[in-house]
């Protein structure tokens, strides 16, 4: 009797759970034909306002929702083409640019896109002065003078005047970044509160004329976009794009395998190898302009020794790491401008040579068995890279103590110049060599109070001459002379810099075989969903 009752209770409970499990039948797989579903880690998104957005995931979404004044050509990223501007003219002295606005362009709201909107959008970036505003304020624009220097002279003519002179290509490249997005001024101003230029509202709304408009953004969960049928390059084939926040790569792999996602963005080399065995999946590999390097703090006496730095550059097994560990996700590249950038130096003069490293260390006079600490982000593949480097440095006779921590913790330490050696990643802010050169080869004030906290400053690398040269390169009007200067700066940094420059990123995206037309591009905000189709 007692057994029967207990078993009956259990059978009922078991039935409740397993019965439900089985009775639901096969789950839906395959996404709707007019909907693109992407699995991606989007935990860095904090805003969708183009005047503030400067995160990788947010920048990518902003790029789908807004059209910029000028934009990189998705077929050839080294070329700029018109976006909101149909054409432009540059004055002979290079300090005035006049843009003609493309006729017939409409915002998602139905409002026409005018030169007034373009002028207001750029002014708004300067007045709000959020993180990416420096991309425009470097031209000398301030909240006080921007209205005089960025002017709509007619409904379809925008005129901008530079206060600080810069190479025109630099100006156009800077305008092609997310901050150059043209915002629907009429719509945004309807939501203005206390003179905030719609800042409070635009954080999680869209007011652009891009290929997609925002349907909803649930922070830390998903972004849903809806096609703009009036997009000037033609209505996208995908009526909806849903970017799901999936932090765990193993889950991303399952989703794409089952057809619940069309694209997976953060898979490891092993997972990619596994998936691409099947004809159902394709691998898209596109070089990014991001580089991976070791930062060597010059406050550390050992690392301040040029012979030691030279020895370390010979103590990294570049090829071994790229082939065995990184498996195509990073390629060997030993200068700070990624291949494909204007003026990039593509020589890789250093190779793994333990004997040479030992000899250089002996010459350096730092004594036997020098020791340094090595700060590394606690995620893959950084830990694996760091362990390999620890091994090869050990062979050369340099003791390395690994310190693993969260990326934000390492950045805090790096910004305070409290590290010895650090493994870091750099991605340019916009498609011009100045963006990256300014960080690696400019340190106008090496004191602890220095305000330009560039990578050179963080590594306490005092370089007045290089800083001057970097400034000059940005002003050079002649493209050939400009390119020559960048090549020269890169050679100096490669040989003497406070860095070991190692790899350039190749972004690997896995798409289902029926998906075509996804473009990743060289930077975080050149990703394009507009051309995606499904068979």
């Amino acid at each position: 009797m007692r057994r029967r009752t207990t078993f009956a209770a259990m059978a009922l409970s078991l039935g409740l759970s397993t019965g439900l499990l089985g009775a639901l039948g096969p789950a839906l797989a395959a996404t709707p034909p007019d909907t693109l579903v992407m699995a991606k880690n989007i935990d860095d998104m904090i805003t969708l306002d183009p005047a503030e957005c400067f995160e990788f995931s947010g920048g990518e979404i902003v790029a789908q929702m807004y059209t910029r004044l000028v934009t990189p050509d998705p077929k050839d990223f080294s070329q700029l083409v018109g976006g909101v501007a149909e054409s432009w003219e540059i004055s002979p002295d290079g300090d005035k640019l006049t843009f003609k606005i493309r006729p017939g362009l409409k915002f998602h709201s139905g409002n026409p896109v005018t030169a007034e909107d373009a002028a207001w959008s750029l002014q708004r970036v300067i007045i709000l002065d959020k993180t990416p505003a420096f991309i425009l304020s470097q031209f000398g624009w301030t909240a006080d003078n921007v209205k005089a220097h960025v002017v709509a002279t007619t409904p379809d003519t925008l005129e901008i005047t530079l206060v600080n002179k810069f190479a025109p290509t630099l100006v156009l490249n800077a305008l092609s970044a997310g901050v150059g997005s043209v915002v629907d001024s009429k719509l945004v101003l309807e939501h203005e509160e206390n003179g905030d230029l719609g800042y409070g509202w635009l954080k999680n709304q869209s007011a652009g004329s891009g290929a997609f408009k925002l349907l909803t953004w649930k922070a830390k969960d998903a972004v849903a976009l809806e096609a703009n049928p009036d997009f000037y390059l033609g209505a996208p084939a995908m009526k909806r794009v849903i970017v799901r926040h999936v932090g765990e790569p193993a889950t991303q792999q399952l989703l794409i395998q089952k057809g619940d996602a069309d694209i997976a963005r953060n898979l490891s080399p092993d997972q990619i190898a596994e998936l691409t065995k099947s004809p159902d999946f394709e691998l898209q590999a596109e070089p990014k302009q991001s580089v991976l390097y070791l930062g060597l703090n010059q406050k550390n006496e050992i690392l301040a020794n040029p012979k030691v730095r030279d020895a370390l550059r010979h103590a990294v097994d570049y090829e071994g790491l790229a082939t065995n560990l990184l498996q195509g996700q990073w390629k060997v590249h030993q200068s700070f401008l990624g291949e494909g950038t204007f003026g990039a130096l593509n020589d890789n003069p250093y190779s793994f040579d333990v004997e040479k490293a030992k000899a250089l260390l002996a010459e350096s006079g730092v004594g036997a068995d020098p020791k340094i600490t090595f700060d590394v982000p606690n995620t893959s593949p950084y830990i694996d890279i760091a362990q390999a480097i620890q091994g090869s440095f050990g062979q050369a006779g340099v003791g390395v103590e690994l310190v693993q921590a969260d990326q934000k913790q390492i950045l805090t330490k790096y910004r305070a110049r409290n590290h010895d050696m650090v493994l870091m990643y750099w991605s340019p802010d916009y498609l011009d060599p100045h963006s990256t050169t300014d960080y690696f080869a400019n340190n106008p004030d090496n004191s602890d109070q220095g305000t330009a906290k560039t990578i050179a400053w963080r590594n306490a690398w005092d370089i007045p001459e290089l800083s001057r040269q970097t400034g000059e390169a940005a002003l050079e009007l002649d493209p050939e002379a400009r390119e020559e200067t960048y090549l020269d700066i890169q050679r100096q940094v490669q040989d003497e810099g406070a860095y070991v420059l190692m790899f350039q990123q190749v972004e690997q995206t896995v798409v289902r075989a029926n998906v075509e037309g996804f473009v990743s591009g060289p930077t975080f905000d050149t990703v394009t969903y507009a051309g995606v189709t499904k068979q």
């Binding site: 639901l24 926040h245 910004r415």
Partner: protein, 360 residues
């Protein structure tokens, strides 16, 4: 002089009124001490979390303005957020805002933390409640069975099952579950709360997907939501089951050895009555605490399960906020969890008085 109800009684009050008066006093004292302990607990919780949040070696401005902001932008943000003030003043400012019901804005979502929590918590509530129901309906009978079959094979099997639920990492179990039931067999839907086909057609009213799909009158969407829920809930439910089974078993073993059980059997009561009425009836109070604790634990955010199943609940929210140094969000969510714990404790206190007259 020590106060007693007698001493409190004004001399001119009749005895009946005096009894009511002292009952009222007892009640209000109990209420006052309850409120006092709730306030103290929340204050302590706030202080500890706030201090930990501020002393961790992460620059809070990194989350707000990012790594590449120019110095003047960083400085302005620091002033706006009061981060240039001494720690104690920052805490007082935060406390003042919390008392006015303002938990601040999450850096990551730009939304008030309370709005975020109102959206993320129902997902966890749905998951944890389903898991606890599974855990209770399976765990209690299993624990009882193990105790009544003490030392026999049934007991051994149940102990192994419970031990596995304790020892197997939830993360691993979740992935294996996904591989088997979602990827291989296709019995259940995969990660997330609902399929994209339905996702933007269901109006979020309660943010409980099962309820919202029913309110929308969309049965297909309802079953899709159930199909998404069943696997993560089972994984969590297994954990809950393991805990409840072990506790039930050991409570029952203690009870079955009591003299009154022997007496009941001698009196000729049926075994079912002896076990379910007398023994189980007597372990109800500690059992309720066990269940409440297990429920609170799951509500606290089943962090790993939510990560594996891309389940947008409080656990996922807190983890991401922590990784992004979004301290306002971490603080807000911690307070909510603290309140949930306190609430569940009060609730289990109340339930005691219902099931056990002695507790009155």
């Amino acid at each position: 002089m020590a106060l007693s109800p007698e001493a409190d009684r004004p001399a001119d009050l009749p005895a009946e009124e005096a009894t009511a008066h002292s009952a009222f006093l007892r009640l209000s004292r109990r209420a006052a001490s309850l409120i006092g302990s709730v306030v103290l607990t929340v204050l302590g919780l706030l202080m500890v979390t706030f201090t930990i949040g501020r002393v961790v070696p992460v620059d809070p401005l990194l989350a707000v303005v990012g790594d590449r902001a120019p110095e003047h932008v960083r400085e302005r943000a620091a002033i706006e957020l009061g981060l240039d003030q001494p720690l104690w003043r920052q805490f007082l400012r935060y406390l003042g805002e919390v008392l006015q019901g303002d938990f601040g804005n999450s850096v990551l979502s730009g939304q008030p933390v309370l709005t975020d929590i109102a959206r993320f918590f129902p997902a966890t509530l749905e998951l944890a409640t389903t898991a606890t129901i599974m855990g209770v309906f399976l765990g209690v009978p299993l624990g009882v069975l193990a105790a009544t079959r003490h030392g026999r094979w049934q007991d051994q099997v149940i102990r192994v099952v419970a031990l596995a639920g304790y020892s197997v990492p939830v993360f691993w179990l979740g992935l294996v579950g996904l591989l088997l039931f979602y990827a291989e067999l296709g019995w259940v839907a995969g990660p997330g709360r609902i399929d994209v086909v339905y996702e933007y057609t269901i109006e979020p009213v309660t943010e409980l997907m099962l309820v919202d799909t029913l309110l929308a009158g969309d049965t297909d969407a309802f079953f899709d939501a159930v199909s998404h829920l069943i696997l993560p809930a089972s994984v969590l439910g297994y954990f809950s089951l393991a805990y409840i089974t072990r506790m039930t078993r050991s409570l029952m073993l203690g009870e079955l050895g009591q003299e009154y059980i022997v007496a009941a059997r001698v009196k000729g009561l049926s075994e079912t009555r002896v076990i379910w009425r007398h023994a189980v009836g007597n372990i109800m109070v500690p059992l309720i605490t066990t269940i409440a604790l297990s429920y609170a634990y799951l509500l606290e955010g089943a962090v790993l399960t939510e990560t594996v199943f891309a389940w947008p609940g409080l656990g996922l929210y807190i983890t991401q906020s922590l990784f992004s140094a979004d301290l306002t969000a971490v603080l807000g969510a911690t307070i909510v969890i603290g309140l949930v714990f306190i609430g569940l404790n009060l609730l289990s206190d109340l339930l005691y008085t219902l099931v056990d007259p002695r507790a009155k």
